[in-house]
């Protein structure tokens, strides 16, 4: 559980914490799109500066962000290395067979690295400062326009919030089954690939049947409490758009325009 960063929320009362989830979600999305427009030192520097401001304003210590990056570090290194070794053009410093390192490939590698870092950091800011419940509500608000096309937005939001609510429950259950099967002599995590896959069966089957039981009981309990469908309901929680959201959007849009000006065409 300790390495599990998804849905990890750090309570706080910063500017970023108090923004409405739907605008945070959209800003995150917007930021990622802008990142893909960046293509030189100036644009990356602008975006990095904005991110540093956001991180500082979230009031979350930098250690948590490093934790978020850690599981992805090999993926980042792998991609950056590929970029450095296989891109062609520019002044070549070293080459061997199909591999070559040039000034251009080094620069591109550096850009890819920064790009990864920015994407991971901004999404970590979102998950650390927003409760899973608020994210589910944010998704519901953001997807609301799809209702016009008969997309079941409310049902999706309900499913999402139930799924998030059951994540820790099912994790606990998995731990229990894992230990119960270990105590009966099942060896997880050693031996050949085939052996490992076989060992997963006594874990997965009880986990699935358990989940089906949960679903059955939960749906009975929901029905007993007057649930008919997900559309005809009022809402207990509402996240309103605030001045903070407008100001943040203003800043992000300005930065976005700046990036469009600064990029090489």
């Amino acid at each position: 559980m300790s390495n599990f960063l998804f849905g990890r929320y750090l309570p706080g009362n910063s500017w970023v914490h108090r923004m409405s989830p739907q605008s945070k979600l959209m800003l995150c999305f917007f930021f990622v799109i802008v990142i893909f427009f960046a293509n030189n030192v100036w644009t990356y520097a602008t975006l990095s500066l904005l991110l540093i401001v956001v991180v500082l304003m979230s009031g979350v210590s930098i250690g948590y962000f490093l934790k978020g990056i850690r599981p992805l570090i090999w993926l980042i290194i792998f991609t950056v290395l590929l970029q450095i070794l296989f891109s062609s053009g520019g002044h070549v410093y070293w080459h061997f067979g199909p591999f070559s390192v040039s000034d251009l490939s080094l620069i591109n590698g550096g850009f890819i690295f920064v790009r990864f870092l920015l994407i991971i950091m901004i999404s970590t800011v979102l998950t650390l400062t927003t409760t899973p419940l608020a994210i589910a509500d944010g998704v519901q608000t953001v997807l609301k326009p799809l209702k016009k096309f008969h997309f079941p937005v409310d049902t999706l939001a309900l499913m999402l919030s139930i799924a998030l609510r059951f994540v820790p429950t099912l994790m606990d259950e998995m731990e229990t089954i894992l230990n119960a099967q270990r105590s009966r002599g099942v060896d997880f995590g050693s031996g050949s690939l085939r052996h490992r896959i076989q060992a997963a069966v006594p874990l997965l089957v009880p986990l699935f049947t358990g989940a089906i039981n949960h679903a059955e009981n939960l749906s009975t309990a929901m029905e007993a409490r007057g649930f008919t469908d997900s559309e005809h309901r009022s809402k207990y929680r509402v996240y309103r758009w605030q001045t903070k959201d407008t100001i943040s959007w203003g800043v992000f849009l300005l930065v976005g325009i700046l990036v469009l000006f600064l990029r090489n065409n």
Binding site: P168, H214, A224, F227, S234
Partner: protein, 277 residues
């Protein structure tokens, strides 16, 4: 006393299974605490689901507070009945305590301001207001059942059904839940049906109905039912601790009136025995 629930000659079986109830009839009196006891598979939990219209009858009729349980009345009937189920984990719909209590109110499309007031007062009623931000994973079993009760109190039903609501709790949690339901019952003049394996829980009821293999074996005050240990054992139920103690004393030649006594009365009786010697 008025009968708030009338179960008339019902017949029911699950698909591909033998008949669970055959011409069963039960009356539940208004304002009474009725305990339904019986072995596993005797149909107790099914009965709770039938009363709330969660499963459909084969034949017979169930009337709840003047309304016949059928498709047209189903939502009015569910407004009158609150059920606390066995597994605290499986009936927690909301992501946090507050959201869970609000779930039933949201289904009834209560306006938000009113909803906030009701959620607050219900959580204060069960003593869980300080825990309103918690997620279910960080609550004990007893606390989750308290939240489930708050969710019911918020809807102010006339009937509370405890469907083995205390069976997964430790003894302290169980006693806390029973005390809480007793308090709420008295304050709001509710009817309580508790379906249970726990004899000590049933002993606190006003009336006990013993169900075995889908039929009513006996129906009486707890005093009369729990005095007869042999009969209880013949249908696979154990007697309360106090009755077992009285039996053990009888075997050693100390005569009691073979009547059921709760803890307090048992202590009083033993004191009297000792002082008479």
């Amino acid at each position: 006393m008025k009968d708030i629930i009338q179960i008339k000659n019902i017949t029911f079986n699950y698909p591909d299974q033998p008949l669970l109830f055959d011409q069963l009839s039960i009356d539940v009196h208004e304002g009474e605490w009725t305990a339904l006891i019986g072995q596993n598979g005797s149909g107790k939990s099914t009965l709770a689901r039938l009363i709330d219209g969660l499963i459909v009858l084969k034949s017979g009729q169930i009337v709840v507070d003047g309304l016949i349980v059928n498709d047209d009345n189903i939502f009015d009937i569910r407004n009158k009945i609150g059920i606390v189920f066995q597994n605290p984990e499986d009936q927690f719909v909301g992501a946090t305590v507050e959201d869970d209590v609000a779930f039933g109110l949201e289904n009834r499309q209560m306006p938000r301001e009113e909803m906030h007031k009701v959620v607050e007062s219900s959580l204060k009623e069960v003593g869980m207001w300080e825990f309103r931000d918690r997620i279910p994973a960080n609550l004990s079993g007893g606390q989750k059942q308290r939240v489930a009760i708050a969710g019911i109190v918020a809807l102010s039903p006339k009937i509370i059904i405890l469907d083995e609501a205390t069976s997964m709790l430790d003894p302290r949690g169980r006693q806390e839940i029973l005390d809480l339901v007793t308090k709420i019952k008295q304050e709001n003049n509710l009817t309580v049906i508790s379906i249970t394996h726990d004899i000590d829980e049933a002993a606190t009821a006003d009336r006990v109905i013993v169900v075995n293999k889908g039929t009513i074996v006996e129906e009486d005050k707890p005093d009369n039912i729990f005095g007869d240990i042999r009969k209880l054992e013949s249908i696979g139920l154990s007697a309360p601790f106090t009755s077992q103690l009285i039996m053990a004393l009888e075997k050693r030649g100390i005569d009691s009136s073979s009547q059921y006594l709760n803890d307090k009365r048992l202590i009083a009786w033993i004191k009297q025995l000792v002082s008479n010697k």
